[in-house]
Amino acid sequence: MISLPIINFSVIYPEIIILVTAIAVLIADLFIKGDRRAPISLIALAGIIMAAFAIHAQWGANVSGFSGAIIVDNYALLFKYIFLVGALLTLFLSVWYLQREELFSGEYFFFILISIVGMMILSSSNELITAFLGLEIMSIPLYLLAGFDKGKLRSNEAALKYLLMGAFASGFLIYGIAFIYGSMGTTNFDEIVRALSSDSLDTDPLILIGISMIVIGFAFKTAFVPFHSWVPDVYTGAPTPVTAFFSIAPKAAGFAILFRLLTVAFSPIFVNLSTMLWVLAVLTMSVGNLIALTQRNIKRMLAYSSIAHAGYILVSLAIGTSKGTEAGLFYLLAYTAMNAGAFGMVILLGHKGEDDLTISSYGGLSRRHPVAAATMSLFMFSLAGIPPTAGFIGKFNIFSNAISAGFIWLAIIGVINSVISVYYYLRVIITMYMKPEADSVTTVTYPPSLLVAIILAAWGTLHIGLFPNGWLLFIRESVVGLYQAL
């Protein structure tokens, strides 16, 4: 007889709520036909709000469940908030776009919600197999979302490329997990940290190869150079709200597990891993920024810029202290707001079929649509890291922490990179304000749902930039428990 353990379902309440909502969306889609399907998105919205309340109720908890596979602490809960905000913004960005492109269907919201479930599990997983499954639950809907515009060749290409690359990365990840399990006999983070000592790598070199392969597996999802080759094509080919979702939520999920895995579970040997992260950070920042310089297509430019931003957060990961993690999480928050806003503007200024997404098509926008141009400029300034926006405070935080932790060269390379990035962000602004009008006149309509998303993102960008103290305290509160046990 197997003695069944007592199961504490309360640790996964937010996940269960989102999962049930996803299934409800799928069933509702069966019964509501044709053009009256817009309320389906309201079901998804209600689910997200309920999950947010569930997370709010869990705040401050520090419990683990399912034989230590899941841990609920403020760190995981903060990430769950970020995922929900990402999903919420994507929802508002999507509704009008889907109707414009005649893509509206229940599956779209189902995939977004299930992907969020995967991310939530990933952020609170305390064990490698759970983390792997969380990653897969997150990824498979992403592959499908990339190819959601079935009629378009670019979208098909994006889905296939993403699927093949992602499957390859998963292979690395599971191979790495096998090495770790083979050399340590456990996949649980608490047991790993107890089994490791600072000279573990000398006595058991398999651990190094195992953890390197695990990092490669997650690096594909967070798009670090040299594991970024899928990003430009997938970001360009996928429907634009999906691209916005890609650039926010999965990236945050990848960082959620990387911070916990590297700086907590593998903390005894973190000194050795830090060098690897250092190299990755420099490569990711530099390659992302340099290629972004030459892009003419706005979605492609934002794709490379998102790679570069992952590089800045990698700097904070390479620091490896509680302060570094705080800076990284703060940057993730800021990045979520400003990147969602930038993609929202791309959707607003695009039109059906989206043939025309070059930066030059924004020429003369300031004269015809001054408000739209000003809002776009706000997001571009923030992405470039110019005060008083969120991007500035985020970068300042990361680089000042890097310097005080002794990573002076990394900070210098980071600052040089953010100077380079100013060029291509400002080019968008210059095109809008100083270039003559483009041949194809952009007609702009202002759908309310999209405006809600953009206003939310703009509020976040400005509020984080102007009043960062409250946000910093909020993040400190969520990180402090993570390093307490060490």
């Binding site: 036909k33 599956e107 479930v117 498979i140 398999l206």
Partner: protein
């Protein structure tokens, strides 16, 4: 006896894996993959994991491979269609990097064994991978992972239907 069997299975395994990528014809590649999977099943059986060995044969060598062959048949991939227009440099660089990767792993495994502290040296427990042990694991320690797999399958089903449904809207 064990060693001889191990060498036979290992050679089959690696030779089959090489053939999968070297052979031109997709069907021949798929057949080589069956060899690899059966050889892996043999390796599992050698360490006493009879249940896993049986699953390996039934699920991979059986079900998954039939699926592969069906796909090849339905897509009707012809040998001559698979062109190798990739650049020479990429090919050599890829092979060199792949080889370096294999050597790296071999080196680390060797070093791990040389130290002897690695649990790779631990003897296989008596009830290793028995049905009881696996089911106990699934329903106690790895319960969540087991349940999460069902979400994964649900998404896969919905996704497959979404992709397979015709290009036009469902209800217009």
């Amino acid at each position: 006896m064990h060693l001889i069997l191990f060498i036979i299975f290992a050679v089959f395994c690696i030779a089959g894996a090489i053939l999968v990528i070297v052979l031109r014809s997709p069907v021949a590649s798929a057949i080589s993959l069956i060899f690899v999977m059966c050889a892996i099943a043999g390796l599992f059986a050698l360490v006493g994991a009879l249940f896993v060995a049986a699953l390996q044969v039934i699920v991979y060598a059986g079900a998954v491979m039939v699926l592969f062959l069906f796909v090849i048949m339905l897509l009707n991939i012809k040998e001559e269609l698979i062109t190798t227009d990739e650049k020479r440099l990429t090919r050599y660089l890829g092979s060199a990097l792949g080889l370096a990767f294999v050597l790296e792993i071999a080196y680390f495994v060797r070093r791990g064994l040389a130290f002897g502290s690695s649990s790779l040296y631990l003897p296989v427990p008596k009830e290793f991978a028995s049905i009881e042990l696996i089911s106990t694991g699934i329903f106690t320690k790895y319960l969540l992972a087991f349940e999460m797999t069902s979400i994964l399958l649900l998404v896969a089903i919905v996704g497959a239907i979404m992709l397979a449904r015709g290009k036009g809207r469902r209800d217009t």
